[in-house]
Symmetry: C2
Subunit: 446 residues, 2 copies
C-alpha cells in the first residue's frame, strides 16, 4: 500500500537552488561574524523542558514542541511496557520531559552557565541553526525556521553595541541592500522620560502604542494616548510632539529632559561612533516590554514591504535563571527567512548561483565512447573541474535536458569519428555554440 507523500505542516524542503541561496546568505553573515571575532556555537535541537519552559512567557510555552520516545515510556515501567506491547506506535500518550529548541538565546545561556569557566570572557558567539515553534503556519511564517544570532556575554562595555551596529551595516550593505535603517534606542532613556514627564503608571501602555506607530500612524498614537486615564493631556501632547518631530528636533527635546542620565550618555556615544552609517537613534523603538534592559536595535528596509529584518538589545542577568549571576548579554539576530524573501524580491542573489557546481557534462554515443568519456572525466576531475558523465549512452536528448536542468554550462559529446581523432564536440549551453576540439584543448578548459 503506497502512502501519499506529504510535508509536515509549517515545514519546507529546500531543493538544491534554495539550499545554494540560503548558504550564500549564511556564509556571508558568518564571514562578517568571524571578521569581528565571533566564534561559532552549536547546541542540540532537543533540550530538557526544564531549560525551555517559563522563558518565553505563557504564549511561548504554548508554542513549544514536546518530544517523547516510545522507548523511554516502555523502559520507565515494565508493567506499562507489558500492557502496551500491542498498542501501535504513535498511540501511546506520555508526559514529556523534553522539547525542541524555541530560540538560540536560552540554549546559549544554558551553555554559558555550564561552561563559563572554560570560555574566553567576554564570550562572543554566533549561532545559525533552526528553531521550532507551534505557530499556526501562514505566508512567511513556518514551524521550522532558521535564526542567525550574534551575542557578547560578560561585558558591559558599550563598544559591543558599536560593533553590533557595524555588523548590521556590513552584512546588509554586502548583501546589496541600499535603503535600510538600523534603528536604536535605550530602555533607560525611555524610563527617564517616563519619570521626567510623569507617565510611569501607564509606561507599558505608552510603549505598546509607540511600537505600533509604523502601523497606526501618529494620529492613531495620539488617540490611543487620549484613552489612557492616568495620562495627563499635557504629557500626551508632549509625547505626540516628540514622536512627530524629526530626528534632530527629537534630540534637542530629549537633551533638555535627560540631563546627564546614563542612558542618554550611552545614546550619544553611539550616535558619535556610528553616525556615518545607516544607524539612527529612534525614541519610538521599544521592542517588547520585559526582556531588554539597555540598548535595543531593529533593522528595517524601505525597499520592500516587510516587517523588521532583525533586532536585538542588551539584557542584564542573561544566565541568572541558570544560577550564574551578573552576566550581561547584548546581541542581535538576523531574520533569515524574511531577509531571503527580500533578496528574492530585490534580485540580490549573485547570478552565478546555480543549483549544481558541475561545469562540464560528458555524453557518449555508445559503449566504446562511454568508456573513453569516463577516462576523460577522470582526467577533468584530477584537474579539479566539477564534471559528470551522463550515465547512459546513446541518450543525447536526455543528456541535454539534464544539463539544462542543472544549469551546466558545457556539454562534451563523444562520437565514433571524434574518438578516432582524439577529439570531442563541445557545446556551450548558454550561447548554443558548438566546436570540435582536441582532448588536450578540453583539459585546458579547466
Amino acid at each position: 500500500m503506497a502512502i501519499k507523500p506529504t510535508l509536515s505542516k509549517g515545514t519546507r524542503d529546500y531543493a538544491p537552488l534554495e539550499v545554494v541561496k540560503r548558504k550564500y546568505l549564511f556564509q556571508l553573515i558568518e564571514e562578517v561574524f568571524q571578521k569581528y571575532g565571533f566564534q561559532p556555537l552549536e547546541t542540540p535541537a532537543v533540550e530538557n523542558l526544564t531549560t525551555l519552559t517559563g522563558k518565553y512567557g505563557n504564549e511561548g510555552d504554548k508554542l513549544l514542541f514536546h518530544i517523547r520516545s516510545n522507548r523511554s515510556l516502555k523502559e520507565s515501567n515494565p508493567q506499562i511496557a507489558e500492557a502496551l506491547k500491542d498498542i501501535p506506535t504513535g498511540f501511546i500518550p506520555e508526559s514529556s520531559d523534553r522539547g525542541l529548541r524555541y530560540d538560540l538565546t536560552v540554549p546559549m545561556a544554558r551553555f554559558v552557565a555550564m561552561n563559563w569557566e572554560k570560555l574566553p570572557m567576554p564570550f562572543k558567539r554566533y549561532q545559525i541553526q533552526p528553531v521550532w515553534r507551534g505557530d499556526r503556519p501562514q505566508r512567511g511564517r513556518y514551524q521550522e525556521f532558521y535564526q542567525c544570532d550574534v551575542d557578547i556575554v560578560g561585558s558591559n562595555s558599550l563598544f559591543n553595541e558599536v560593533e553590533l551596529i557595524q555588523i548590521y551595516e556590513e552584512v546588509f550593505t554586502r548583501l546589496g541592500f541600499q535603503d535600510f535603517t538600523i534603528r536604536f534606542n535605550h530602555r533607560k532613556v525611555l524610563n527617564e522620560l517616563a519619570k521626567a514627564w510623569g507617565f510611569e503608571s501607564v509606561f507599558s501602555s505608552v510603549l505598546i502604542s509607540m511600537d505600533k506607530i509604523d502601523k497606526i500612524g501618529i494620529s492613531g498614537f495620539a488617540s490611543e494616548l487620549q484613552e489612557m486615564e492616568d495620562l495627563s493631556s499635557t504629557t500626551a501632547l508632549d509625547l505626540v510632539n516628540l514622536l512627530s518631530a524629526d530626528v534632530s528636533e527629537q534630540w534637542n527635546i530629549l537633551n533638555q529632559v535627560m540631563g546627564d542620565c546614563e542612558g542618554w550618555k550611552e545614546v550619544n556615544y553611539l550616535i558619535q561612533k556610528v553616525g556615518n552609517s545607516h544607524a539612527q537613534f529612534d525614541i519610538s523603538l521599544a521592542r517588547g516590554l520585559d526582556y531588554y534592559t539597555g540598548t535595543v536595535f531593529e533593522v528595517v528596509t524601505h525597499e520592500v514591504q516587510m516587517g523588521s529584518l532583525g533586532g536585538g538589545g542588551r539584557y542584564d542577568n542573561l544566565t541568572e535563571v541558570f544560577g550564574l549571576k551578573n552576566m550581561s548579554g547584548v546581541g542581535v539576530s538576523f531574520g533569515a527567512e524574511r531577509i531571503l524573501d527580500c533578496m528574492e524580491e530585490l534580485n540580490l542573489f549573485p547570478t552565478q548561483l546555480t543549483p549544481s557546481k558541475t561545469k562540464l557534462l560528458f555524453a557518449a554515443f555508445d559503449e566504446e565512447t562511454f568508456e573513453q568519456c569516463s577516462s576523460l572525466l577522470f582526467e577533468m576531475r584530477k584537474l579539479q573541474v566539477p564534471s559528470e558523465l551522463y550515465p547512459e549512452f546513446g541518450k543525447l536528448k536526455k543528456a541535454m535536458k539534464y544539463a539544462d536542468s542543472k544549469q551546466i554550462p558545457w556539454v562534451a559529446i563523444l562520437g565514433e569519428s571524434e574518438l578516432k581523432e582524439q577529439k570531442i564536440s563541445v557545446k556551450n549551453m548558454i550561447s548554443g555554440e558548438q566546436n570540435i576540439i582536441s582532448w588536450n584543448e578540453l583539459f585546458q578548459l579547466s
Copy 2:
C-alpha cells in the same frame, strides 16, 4: 529560583573548536560531492509519522521520537481545551502525528516522490543534516547526530557505483587516512552462490554469520555453520574454504561457480574500474538482510579500532512506498561521528584550525588609547583582517588571557607613549616576541 542547567541525554553542545573541526570535515566532503556533480538537498527535521513509521523495522519504530505541540491538542477540541486549561505544560498526554527524522534516505525518497517531475534525472543529491534516534546513549552513540549521505536516484547504470567508490577514495585520502579499505559485494552474487551451493534455506543465517567474521573469526564462523541443521557439511566446508581464502583465490572459486550471472559481471566491471584504489571485492560483506538488492559497500580503517566508517548500496524501488515505481537508488553514507573520532585519534585535523579566526587583538591602557585603538581596529577590518579590541581598557592581563584562550596569534598594545609617536607595541603570542612598530607597518600585517 535558579534551574540547574543540563543537557538532554544523548545530546551534545559543540563548543567553537568542535564546530570548526566538524565544519572542516563537512566542507571537505561537500566539496568532493560537488566535484562529482551532486546537488545539496535539505529536508525538515519534523516529518509526518505516516512518512516515518514502518520504514525502519520494528526496532526502528521504537526509536522514533514523537512530537506534539500543546497548541495542537488544545485547538483540536474546545471541550478538552477547557478541561485542561489549568494543567501545567508538559503534563498533557496526546497521541502524536509527527516525529523527528530518523535518517536521510526516507525523507529523500519522500522528496523525490513529491517532486520528481521537476528534478533532473537521474537525481544526484547529497544531504548533511542531523537525525534523531531514541537509542540508549553510550560512548560514541548519541540520540542526535549527523549523517552525510550521497545518492543517485533513477539510474540503473553501474557507473554510479564506480563514482561512489571514487568518492569514498577521494574523501578518505584527502582527510589523511592511509590504511583503509572500501569493501564491496553484490547481493546477486550471494544469491547465486546460495543457489549453486544449495544453502538457500539457511541463506539469512549464513549471511548473519558471515557479517560477524570480523568479530568471531573464521573458526567462529565454522562452528556457527555446523549448528545450522539444513546446511550440508560439504557446503559448510566449501563456505569456510571460500571465506578463508585470499582475494584472488576467492575470485577463482567464485568465477567457476558464477558463470555469466549478472551480479558477477557487475562485480568484475567494478574490479576493472576501481582496481587501483583502496576498493576490494569481499564476498563476506552482507550489510543486513532486507534493504539492499544489488551492490553493497562498507569502509573500514585499519589504523584505529572502530566499526565501519561508512556504508551503503543499491536498493530497487526506493520510492515505491510513496507511490512512485521503478526508481532505483544507490548511495553511500559517511559515519560523521566515527570519522571525527578517528581523525581526533590519528591527529588528522590541520593544525591551523583554531576556535576563532581573529588574527589580531588590540588592547588599550586608558580611555584615550582605547578610542585610538578602535580607529586602528576599524582600519584593520577595512583591510579584511579578522580583528578585535578587548572591550575594557587597562586590563592587559585579562586581554592576554583572552587572546590565549581564542588562540589569537597577535596582540597589539597601545600605551600613551606609543600613541604620541603613532606607534604600537605588537606581541607574537606564539614566539613571545614583542616589537614596537608604526601604525603603517601594522596595516601591512594584513
